[in-house]
C-alpha cells in the first residue's frame, strides 16, 4: 500500500517532466517559423527605414545612476532599442519630430521629441501606488486591476532596524494584519493573524508563498529580511481562494529582490543594536521581604540572610547584529542575484542567543528566443540557538526560566557555603534559576534548504505554459542536558538527564499551469488553469538517558548514561505526511478597463480527511468598477482614483489538522505488567472520526480604493464578514462510551466581521521635501456561533470549553471570553472572597458555573497604527506607533506573586503588601486587566549620501532606529503584547521573556 503510493507519486513527477520536455519540443518547432514577426525591437527593422535620424543618449535614475535595460521606442512604431549596461542608447528615428518614449518598470514613462533631445534623460520614480504590481497568487496584476482585498508593502515602505524576522518588516503597515511579538527571546518569531481568528484547531497562520514556494509561517523565518522586495497580503477569500486548500487564514506572498536586467550591483547592509529591558516587576527587596515574612510568622530558618537581586543576576544587556551582502549581475538574457546574511542575537537573559545565517541565489535565464524563462532559486539557512528553559519551576509554579527569578526570596543566597548552588529542601521542588541558567545545556540547530525551478514558456500568442517545482527540507536538532547541580527536582530525581530531539520536514510541491492572455477590442481576458501536487512529510526521533557519572559530555554521548534506568518514552520516533492535490481555474476579465471581474474555482483533495470526504470545492468571484475611468468622471478634479470592489469566496482549512485523525489506530502506551513480565502496552489512541472533512470559510468583502487631491490623499476601506463552517475542533463526547473525552469533528461555526481603513496623506509633497502621514485601523467582531450539534446521530454538547486561564469558548461570545468569578474582598482570615452570584452558599468553580460572570474577551477588538514619514533632501525620518485594545488579560503571574501565605517560600510583589490577601481558592477578576496599549514601535532617522563622483562608491545610507521606545498602557504586567494567536491558552500572562527596548545603528553601502 505504502509502496504503491510512492510509485504513483513518482509517476506524477516523471510525467510532469515528460510533459515539459514535450512542450519545449513543440514550441521550439514553431518558434522557428515565428522568429521575424516576433521581433519587436532591434536592428532588423532598420532595413525598412528610408530617412534616418540617429539620436543617442544616456538614461539615468533619480539618483543619477545609469538605468540599463530601459525601453526606448519611437512612438507609434515598433521601432525600439534597449539601453545598455551603462544606460547608453542609440536609436534611429524617422524624423526630428518623432517622439521617443522611454519606459522602465517603476518609473514614469518619459516622452521626448527627437529634435529636442539633449543627451541625458533622467527618469522620474512613479510614486502613484495604484500603478504598482501586485502579486495575486499564481500571477500578478496591476494594483488598479485588483478586485480582492490585497495589501502590498514594498521594500521602501517597510520597517527598518535590526530586523530578525520578515514579519517585523510589515508590523503595523497593513490594516487587519496583526503582527504580535511576545518577548524578545533570541530566535523567537512573531505571530501574525490576518482578519482575526477563524479556526480553533490551528490553521490560523497564513500561508506563506516565497517566490512560488509554499510553506507555513516557519518558511518566512528562513528568508533574509533584507532580501525582500515586497510583501503582498491576500486578505479576503476572493483573493485567497486560489490557494483554496491553504488559503483560509490569508496568504502572505513574498517576492525577493531580483537583479535588474543588464546591471550589476554590490550592496552591504549592516545594523547593530543594543537591547535593554525597559520594565521589570517591583518585588520586595531583602529587608521588605523579611519584615513582611515576620509579620505572617515565617520562621527565622526560612531567612538565609543574603541580599540577592535574582532578576538582575539573570539578565544583562543584549545585542542584535544583522549583516547582509548582496550582489548581482547579468545581461538581457541572464541575470542573477546572490546574497549572504547573518542575524546574530544575544539575549537579555544570560546564556540565550541565536545565530541565523542564510545564503541564497536566484537566477533567471531566457532562451528559445526569449520565449522560455527559467527562474532558479536556491536558499540555504543555518540557525544555531542556545535557549533558556521554556518550562520549569516548582510544583506550584511553572513558567520560563527568567520568570522563576521573581519567585525567589531575596534573602536566599545564590551559592551554598560549600560553593554549590543553593537549594532549600524545605521548599517543595525548590529551583535555583541561576543554577539552571548556568548549568543547563539547551542547544538547537536548524538546517534548511529550499530550491525551486520555474519554467515559463510562451507557446502561442498569449498562451503560455508553466511548470514549477519546489523542494524544501528542514532538519532540526535539539540537545538538552540538565545536571543534578541545576537544583531542578526533576534532574535530581534522575541523577541528571540528557536528550536529543531530531525532527525533519520534507515538503515537495509541483504545479503545471496554462495561462492565456488576450485583448480583443474593449475586452481583456487573462485565464489560468493549474494543477498542483504537494506532499509534506514530517519525521523525527527522540532519545534520552540519565544518571551520568559526570557532566563532561552533556548531551553528546547519551550512551554514557545509566542504561539500566531506561524508561518508556526514552526512545521514540514518528513519521507522518499529508498530500494535497489541487485543480484551479481562474479568469480575470475586464471591459473597457473599467469593469473588472475575477472568477476562480479550485478543487482540492487532502489526505488528512476521512476516506469519503477528501475533496472540497472552493469557488470565488469578485468584481470591481473603476469609476474614475468613466466618461462622466472625466471632467471632475476631485478623484484621481476611485474604485469599488466586491467579492465572495470559499476557502478551506486542512493545515491545522494533524494527519491520521480520521483513522482508528493503535499506538504504544508505556508498558503493562502481564504474564509475569513488563511488556509493551498498546492502546487505541483516539476517538476516530471517519467523517472528518474540510473546514470551510465563506467570506464576503466590499472595498473602496480612492485617491484625491492629485493623489495626495489615498485610502482604502474594506468591510468583510467571514463565517467558518464545519469547524474542526475537539468536541466533547460522553465517557462512556467513548474512551477519550473529545473527538475531532466538523460541527461548529465562527464568524468574524470587520472594517479596515488605511489612509495616507502627503502633507508636503515637494521635490526636495515630503511629509506623509499614513495610518490604518481595523475593527474586528468575533463570535462563536455554534459548538454543539451531532455527529452520526450522537449529540455533542460542547460549550464553555476552557481556552485559557478563566477564558472560554462560549456560544454567542467571542473566542476566549472571560467567564470569571467576581472579587468582592477578603474575609477575617484575609482569604479572598468572591461573589456568590446565585446565592446558593457554594462557590461553584465549574466551567458553566452560575457564579461566573462574562467579562470581556482575550481577543482585541481593534488595532491601529500611525506611520508618519518625513524626508528632506537626503535626510529622512519615520515613526511607527502601533496599538490595540478592547481585550482583557488574566494576569496569572500577578496572582501567583500576590498571595502573602506564599512568602515563606517565595517573594511577592510590592503591591501584594497593600492588597493583604493571605490566600485564595479562586482565580477571580481581581487579576483581570485591560489589555489596551499604544507603543512607539519604531523611530528611524536616516541620511543617504550619493557619491556620483567617487569611483567604486555609489550610495551610502546611515540610519539610527529606536525600537519600543515608549509603551502606553494601564496593564501592570511586563508587557500587554502577549499570546494573541487564538490557540488554547491565550489571554493569560504567566510570565514572558522580556520585551526589549533597543537602539540600532544601521549602515547601507552600495558599491559600483
Amino acid at each position: 500500500m505504502r509502496k504503491k503510493l510512492l510509485i504513483k507519486n513518482r509517476h506524477c513527477l516523471v510525467k510532469a517532466i515528460h510533459a515539459i520536455l514535450l512542450l519545449f519540443f513543440v514550441t521550439s518547432m514553431h518558434a522557428k517559423s515565428d522568429t521575424t514577426s516576433r521581433k519587436m525591437y532591434g536592428f532588423e527593422s532598420s532595413n525598412f527605414i528610408i530617412q534616418q535620424l540617429t539620436i543617442s543618449g544616456k538614461i539615468i535614475d533619480e539618483n543619477g545612476m545609469p538605468l540599463p535595460g530601459a525601453n526606448i521606442i519611437e512612438k507609434g512604431t515598433t521601432n525600439g532599442v534597449v539601453s545598455d549596461y551603462s544606460g547608453d542608447f542609440s536609436i534611429s528615428v524617422s524624423s526630428s519630430t518623432s517622439v521617443i518614449v522611454i519606459s522602465y518598470l517603476g518609473y514614469k514613462n518619459t516622452e521626448i521629441e527627437a529634435g529636442k533631445h539633449s543627451g541625458v534623460i533622467q527618469l522620474e520614480l512613479d510614486a502613484a501606488t495604484l500603478d504598482e504590481i501586485v502579486l495575486i497568487g499564481y500571477g500578478s496584476s496591476k494594483r488598479k486591476d485588483v478586485t480582492g482585498a490585497v495589501s502590498s508593502i514594498a521594500d521602501g515602505d517597510m520597517n527598518q532596524g535590526a530586523i530578525t524576522n520578515p514579519l517585523q518588516l510589515i508590523s503595523g503597515k497593513a490594516s487587519g494584519v496583526v503582527v504580535t511579538q511576545t518577548g524578545n527571546e533570541p530566535g523567537a518569531t512573531p505571530s501574525v493573524r490576518i482578519r482575526g481568528i477563524s479556526s480553533l484547531i490551528g490553521g490560523n497562520d497564513p500561508l506563506v508563498v516565497v517566490d512560488g514556494i509554499q510553506g507555513n509561517l516557519d518558511l518566512l523565518n528562513q528568508i533574509p529580511p533584507s532580501e525582500i522586495a515586497s510583501m503582498d497580503i491576500l486578505k479576503d477569500a476572493s483573493a485567497t481562494a486560489v490557494y483554496g486548500s491553504r488559503g483560509a487564514a490569508g496568504v502572505i506572498i513574498v517576492s525577493t529582490k531580483k537583479n535588474k536586467a543588464g546591471s550589476s550591483s554590490l550592496e552591504y547592509v549592516v545594523s547593530s543594536s543594543l537591547d535593554f529591558i525597559p520594565k521589570k516587576l517591583d518585588m520586595l527587596d531583602a529587608n521588605q521581604w523579611w519584615t513582611e515574612a515576620q509579620r505572617v510568622g515565617v520562621p527565622a530558618s526560612a531567612n538565609h540572610g543574603s541580599n540577592t537581586d535574582w532578576y538582575d543576576i539573570l539578565t544583562n544587556s543584549g545585542s542584535t547584529q544583522t549583516h547582509a551582502l548582496s550582489f548581482g549581475g547579468g545581461t538581457d538574457k541572464f541575470n542573477y542575484r546572490g546574497s549572504i546574511s547573518a542575524i546574530l542575537q544575544d539575549g537579555v537573559v544570560i546564556n540565550s542567543n541565536n545565530q541565523k545565517y542564510i545564503g541564497r541565489i536566484i537566477a533567471t535565464q531566457k532562451a528559445l528566443d526569449d520565449r522560455l524563462t527559467l527562474t532558479y532559486n536556491l536558499n540555504s539557512g543555518i540557525v544555531e540557538n542556545t535557549g533558556t528553559v521554556q518550562s520549569i519551576g516548582r510544583a506550584s509554579f511553572t513558567s520560563n526560566l527568567i520568570t522563576n527569578a521573581y519567585m525567589m526570596r531575596p534573602t536566599d543566597p545564590v551559592f551554598d557555603v560549600d560553593g554549590s548552588y543553593f537549594n532549600d529542601p524545605n521548599v517543595f521542588q525548590y529551583l535555583n534559576p541561576y543554577a539552571v541558567a548556568q548549568t543547563v545545556v539547551n542547544e538547537a540547530q536548524e538546517d534548511n534548504l529550499f530550491g525551486s525551478l520555474k519554467a515559463d514558456l510562451d507557446v502561442y500568442k498569449g498562451l503560455s505554459v508553466g511548470w514549477f517545482g519546489s523542494w524544501r527540507k528542514t532538519n532540526y536538532t535539539n540537545g538538552f542536558f540538565l545536571p543534578v547541580e541545576s537544583t531542578s527536582a526533576n534532574a535530581i530525581d534522575q541523577n541528571g538527564f540528557a536528550n536529543i530531539n531530531n525532527s525533519s520536514q520534507n515538503e515537495k510541491l509541483m504545479n503545471i499551469s496554462l495561462s492565456y492572455k488576450k485583448v480583443f477590442g474593449d475586452h481583456n481576458i487573462n485565464a489560468l488553469a493549474l494543477y498542483e501536487w504537494q506532499n509534506q512529510t514530517y519525521q523525527g526521533n527522540f532519545a534520552q538517558t540519565r544518571g551520568f557519572i559526570n557532566d563532561i559530555t552533556t548531551y553528546n554521548a547519551l550512551q554514557l548514561g545509566d542504561l539500566s534506568s531506561v524508561r518508556p518514552g526514552d526512545i521514540t520516533s514518528y513519521k507522518n505526511d499529508r498530500t494535497l492535490i489541487s485543480f484551479l481555474g481562474r479568469v480575470n476579465y475586464s471591459f473597457k478597463d473599467r469593469y473588472l471581474l475575477t472568477v476562480s474555482m479550485r478543487r482540492d483533495g487532502a489526505s488528512v480527511f476521512g476516506v469519503n470526504h477528501k475533496w472540497g470545492n472552493f469557488p470565488s468571484a469578485s468584481v470591481a468598477w473603476q469609476i474614475d475611468q468613466e466618461p462622466f468622471m472625466r471632467n471632475q478634479k476631485v478623484f484621481n482614483e476611485l474604485k469599488i470592489r466586491g467579492g465572495y469566496g470559499v476557502t478551506g482549512n486542512q493545515q491545522g489538522l494533524y494527519p491520521q485523525n480520521s483513522l482508528s489506530l493503535v499506538g504504544g502506551s508505556g508498558v503493562t505488567y502481564f504474564g509475569g513480565q513488563q511488556i509493551t502496552n498498546f492502546n487505541v489512541i483516539q476517538n476516530a472520526n471517519a467523517d472528518l472533512r474540510w473546514e470551510t470559510k465563506k467570506q464576503t468583502n466590499i472595498g473602496l480604493d480612492f485617491a484625491l487631491l492629485k493623489g495626495r490623499l489615498r485610502g482604502t476601506i474594506d468591510a468583510y464578514t467571514a463565517t467558518t463552517d464545519n469547524l474542526l475542533f475537539d468536541y466533547t463526547v460522553p465517557q462512556p462510551p467513548f474512551p477519550y473525552s473529545t473527538i475531532k469533528a466538523n460541527v461548529g461555526s465562527i464568524v468574524n466581521e470587520g472594517l479596515e481603513v488605511s489612509l495616507g496623506y502627503d502633507v508636503i509633497s515637494r521635490e526636495d521635501m515630503t511629509l506623509t502621514l499614513a495610518g490604518n485601523a481595523a475593527f474586528l467582531r468575533n463570535e462563536v456561533l455554534k459548538l454543539s450539534g451531532s455527529i452520526n446521530g450522537v449529540p455533542l454538547n460542547t460549550n464553555y470549553v476552557p481556552w485559557g486561564p478563566n477564558s472560554y469558548l462560549i456560544e454567542g461570545q467571542p473566542i476566549g471570553t472571560f467567564n470569571i468569578l467576581h472579587h468582592t474582598g477578603k474575609d477575617n482570615s484575609n482569604s479572598e472572597t468572591v461573589q456568590d452570584v446565585n446565592g446558593d452558599g457554594v462557590i461553584d468553580q465549574g466551567n458553566q458555573s452560575p457564579d461566573r460572570l462574562l467579562q470581556g474577551s482575550a481577543l482585541p477588538t481593534y488595532t491601529y497604527a500611525f506611520n508618519p514619514t518625513f524626508q528632506y533632501k537626503n535626510f529622512d525620518v519615520s515613526m511607527l506607533w502601533r496599538g490595540s485594545g478592547g481585550n482583557k488579560i488574566y494576569n496569572g503571574l500577578r496572582s501567583s506573586l500576590s498571595y502573602l501565605e506564599n512568602i515563606g517560600r517565595s517573594n511577592v510583589l510590592e503591591s501584594a503588601v497593600n492588597l493583604g490577601i493571605e490566600t485564595s481558592q479562586y482565580g477571580s477578576d481581581l487579576w483581570l486587566e485591560k489589555g489596551d496599549f499604544l507603543r512607539l514601535e519604531n523611530l528611524t532617522a536616516g541620511y543617504t549620501l550619493n557619491f556620483n563622483d567617487i569611483k567604486f562608491l555609489d550610495t551610502m545610507r546611515i540610519s539610527i532606529t529606536g525600537n519600543n521606545l515608549l509603551l502606553i498602557t494601564d496593564y501592570t504586567g511586563i508587557d500587554p503584547e502577549l499570546n494573541f494567536s487564538g490557540g488554547n491558552g491565550f489571554g493569560g500572562d504567566n510570565g514572558i521573556y522580556p520585551r526589549t527596548r533597543s537602539i540600532v545603528i544601521g549602515l547601507d553601502v552600495k558599491l559600483k
Binding site: 504513483k8 529542601p425 507522518n576 489526505s607 517565595s906
Partner: protein, 506 residues
Amino acid sequence: MKMKRKNIVLIGCLSILLMAACTNVDEVVYDRYPAEDFYGTPEGADIALASVYAEIPGEFVRNNASGVGYAGADNGWYDMNCMASDEQVIPHRNTGDWQQDFARLHKHEWLPTDFIINNTWNWLYKSIFNANLAVSLLEDSRADEAKIAEARVLRAFFYYLLIDDFGDVPFYTENTITVDQIPQASRKEVFDFIVKELTENVELLSGTKGGNFYGRFNKWAGYMLLAKVYLNAEVYTGEAKWAECLEACLKVSEGGFNLHPAITDANLPLGNTYYELFGDVLPDDETILAIYATLDVLSRNIYTNRSLAGSHAQALFGYSGWNGTIVPKDFYLKYDDNDIRKQQYLVGEQPGGVNYTLDVQSIDSPGAAPQAGVRNIKFYPVTPRTGGGASNDFPIYRYADALLMMAECHVRLGNSAAAKPFVDAIRERAGLAALTTNPTLEDIYNERGFELNWEGHRRQDMIRFGTFLEPNEFRGASSDYRKIFPIPTSALDANPGLQQNPGYEN
C-alpha cells in the same frame, strides 16, 4: 496555423491525462497500527487483555488523562476514596502549599466539579472501554475460555468500583453502541450484573498464584472480588448477602493463603517482616491481588514520600519529601503502643530537623503549620525511588482482609464465637493479645482500620459500619447523600441524559 492549433489540443489532452493520473490523496500511516488489523489476530486479543491491566496501576498522567489508576499515584480513585475517610488527608498548609480539594474530600464538602472525582470517573470508563474491547476480541477470536473469563471479571471489577462510588451509573458492554443507547442503570441492576458475571466466570479462572498471574485475576482474586461485592450488598441493594460473602471467602481460602509472618528484624527499615507486605514483589502467602510497580517504568508508589516533610525525606533518602498526607490524630491514637502496625506512624522529632506535631489546627483555611500532623511510612520506599515516588507494589486484596471479612460475616450472621479466631489471628500477628471476649462489630471495624489503613478500603468500611457520616475533629456530621459521590459536572455536561445523584442537584 493549423499545426499550432493541433499543438494546443495536444497539450490540452496531455494535461488532462496527467491530472487524472495524479489525484491520489489516500492517507498512509507509517508509525501506528490500523486498529482492525492489529486486534484481528489472536495475539491482538491477548494484547487487549494486557491493556486492561495497564489501566490499574496509578499514574499522574497516562494517555493525556490525569489521576488514573487504582492506587500508587495521586488525584484519582485512591485519593477520592481514602481522603473521604478518617484515615488520611492532605491539609492545605499555611505556607500556601497544597490546594484544598483534599481537605474538601475529608470535610465531606467535595464538589461535582472537583477534578479528582472527574479523573476517577473518566479512568473507570476508559477501563471499561478497554475491558469491553478485550471481551469482544477474545470472544471473536475464540480464545481460551479462561482468558475470556478474566476479561469479564476485570470488567466486573471496574463496575463494582463504579457503583461503590457513584451509585446509579451508565451501563454498557458493547463499545459499538452510542450514548443514547446506554442507560443509567440502577445500582441494583449493575450489582446483579456483576454477581452474574463473577459467578459464571470466576471458576473458569486459573488457580495459579504469583508468577504468570502476579498482578492478575486468578480464581482466588476473583472470589475475593465476589466476596467484596456480597459484603457490601446491603449498601448497594438494601439486601444483605453475608452468607454468600462467607461462602466466597471460603473459596478464597481454598487458594491456600496464610498470614505473612511478622518477625522482628532490626535490619529492616520498619523492624519487622510484616512490612514486606507493602514492599517490592508482595509475598504470595498472603497477597491475593497486587499492583506491580517500578518507578518511572510502570506506575509508582508515592504514598510515603507524599507524607514526609522535605528535609526529613532528604535526611532519610537523599531527596526531598512533599510534606503532604497526614493521619488525623483520632485515627492514630486508637492504636495500641505494642502494635507492630504503629511503627508505620511518625510523630515528634525526626532526622532532618523536623518535629511532627500530633495536632493540626486547620486543614483548609488558614491551613496547617508546615510540620503539623502525624505521618505514615507504611509503604517504606523501595528502589528505584526518587522524589517522584518509589517502587512498592500495592496490595488490592490480601488474606488478612478475607479473614476479617469472614469474621464480620459470622458476627453479622449471629455467630460471633466463630468470628473470634479470625480476629485473633490478625491481632496476634500484630503483636497483640487475643481478644478476651467474642468480637463485636466495633472490634472488627477497628481491626480493619488498624490492619488495612491506607489500602483503599476505609471509605467502604465506614459506610458499611455506619460511621462515615459521623463528625470528626475537622467537621460536624455530614449528610446521608455524601455516601455516594456526585457524577462529575463534565460528564453531565457531555451527556444531559444523565441524572445527578440526590443531594448534588443544583
